[in-house]
């Protein structure tokens, strides 16, 4: 039961100021262990800034409680071009106590890239590269995965396939995921909860109650379209501001 545990990530009154300009104005957010939460909002609403503040990439004020081990996946992949697929996945596995090759092999299988293990990122498609990025983030077994618009650079068809694939991977390992996107349909399809961010503040939250495992066909059901409409209406003020 996700709701009965203490939050895995707890953020209270989080403020971020960059270049004398306040980007986040006191964000409150809690994620339960194993929960998949999406942050949606227009460009510049502070979604990525919130993610970066959680990991400590940028200075912030307020209370932030996060686990030590967090993996992150970026929109531009940030996969290292000088390492092969295998090298990228193995990079975060430093501990001698880990059977590294076995972990790498398992993650190559998980992301379906076992046959591409020897290739360099420049030899892969966008979707494959993003799968390497996720495998690299998952391999050290972090408690939380943060994803910053990971499918933003992909075409619509690949994006749809990657969403289904991500859900499949998530259902196997049940990590806590905070997923940033500006695509409401994507957020609803993937998440347990959609948090709407507007101009540096939380504007609303929407529980997504569709059964799991989810198939892409739910996007065409009347319930899905109705809830999408509700979320769109709730974030409209943020787009108009």
């Amino acid at each position: 039961m996700k709701g009965n545990q203490s939050p895995h990530i707890q953020v209270s009154n989080l403020r971020v100021q960059l270049d004398q300009h306040e980007i986040l104005h006191g964000i409150d957010l809690a994620l339960q262990r194993g929960e998949f939460v999406s942050l949606v909002g227009r460009s510049g609403s502070g979604k990525s800034t919130l993610l970066h503040a959680l990991v400590g990439f940028i200075p912030s004020q307020g209370q932030v409680q996060t686990p030590q081990d967090m993996g992150i996946v970026f929109q531009n992949y940030a996969v290292f071009p000088w390492l092969t697929v295998r090298g990228n996945i193995a990079l975060g596995l430093h501990g001698a106590k880990h059977p590294n090759q076995e972990i790498v092999d398992n993650h190559l299988e998980l992301v379906g890239l076992a046959s591409e293990a020897h290739k360099y990122p420049s030899q892969l498609s966008g979707g494959q590269t993003q799968r390497v990025a996720l495998a690299r983030a998952l391999a050290p077994n972090p408690e939380v995965i943060l994803m910053d618009e990971p499918f933003g650079a992909l075409d619509m068809y690949t994006r749809g396939k990657m969403q289904t694939w991500l859900l499949d991977v998530w259902e196997k390992n049940q990590k806590t995921v905070l997923f940033v996107t500006h695509n409401i349909e994507e957020a609803m399809f993937l998440s347990d909860r959609v948090v709407v961010l507007g101009d540096g503040s939380v504007m609303g939250e929407h529980q997504v109650l569709f059964d799991r495992p989810r198939l892409e066909s739910i996007k065409f059901t009347a319930e899905f379209i109705e809830q999408k409409k509700q979320i769109l209406e709730s974030i409209e003020p943020a787009y108009n501001s």
Partner: protein, 259 residues
């Protein structure tokens, strides 16, 4: 009829241009359009190579120049990469060192040779110092910029993967800056050959530059041109060799479209 591959065709086209120029050169020189002693035909230049090879001068000069170019290039590059990593990554080093380096950078390296001869004499040290000095600047500036402008997401990814200390330098920063460093090295190797020639003009008793200078004094244009062609040839071969080594050691650079 068997079709040629793209590579073979381009070699053939390049070879054609060279042969064409050699033929024109031979004709112009033999017909007497220009004074033959000032502009000896390629066959005479080829004869000069044979003459130098028989006397042992050719091998001696090539060895001396290549050795100086190699040592000077390696020394200048290694120091430049090291300093570039420091100034590109650590603000304090950049604050202290960058103004000094920027001040020295516009100096034509040739201009320091008289001073270097006074400091180190006319031996090997002054020649290698001059070459290293000239190679340092393009390699340093490229390394500095490459390291300074590494995408933040690379460093952030390394942070979340718990890559720290020196490991981040060798596992992330150096390879991320490598395309820039390679560009600097390629400029550096061309400069090294320019400086080999210049440094051998004064106080040398061997080397391709020395051969060009002494042939001019003896009014042997054939030997002079032969040595000039050699210098150009080895400069080009050094660049090709450097690229081949880089592609062998870092195959991903070639795959990323690095020329």
């Amino acid at each position: 009829m068997k079709r040629l591959s793209k590579g073979s065709l381009s070699i053939l086209q390049g070879g054609f241009t060279i042969v064409f120029i050699l033929v024109i050169w031979e004709i112009v020189s033999r017909v007497g359009i220009v004074p033959k002693p000032l502009f000896p035909p390629p066959t005479r230049v080829f004869g000069a190579w044979i003459e130098m090879a028989r006397s042992g001068e050719l091998l001696r000069d090539i060895q001396a120049s290549l050795w100086r170019a190699l040592i000077g290039f390696c020394l200048g590059s290694v120091i430049a990469i090291f300093v570039g990593l420091l100034t590109g990554r650590i603000k304090l080093f950049s604050n202290y060192l960058s103004p000094l380096i920027q001040l020295l950078r516009p100096l034509p390296p040739v201009a320091i040779i008289p001073l270097v001869i006074v400091w180190f004499g006319i031996g090997e040290v002054s020649k290698i110092f001059s070459i290293s000095f000239a190679v340092f600047f393009p390699v340093w500036i490229n390394t500095h910029v490459g390291v300074r402008d590494i995408p933040k997401t690379f460093l952030w990814s390394a942070h979340t993967l718990k890559i720290r200390g020196l490991a981040i330098l060798w596992k992330v920063i150096f390879p991320a800056a490598l395309p820039f460093i390679v560009a600097g090295l390629r400029t550096g190797i061309s400069i090294a050959f320019i400086m080999v020639f210049v440094s051998e003009l004064a106080g040398a008793s061997s080397g391709i530059g020395y051969q060009i200078y002494s042939s001019q004094l003896a009014y042997r244009m054939d030997r002079m041109i032969a040595a000039l062609v050699l210098l150009g040839l080895f400069g080009a071969l050094a660049d090709i060799g450097l690229l081949a080594i880089i592609r062998l050691v870092f195959p991903w650079l070639k795959l990323s479209g690095q020329k």
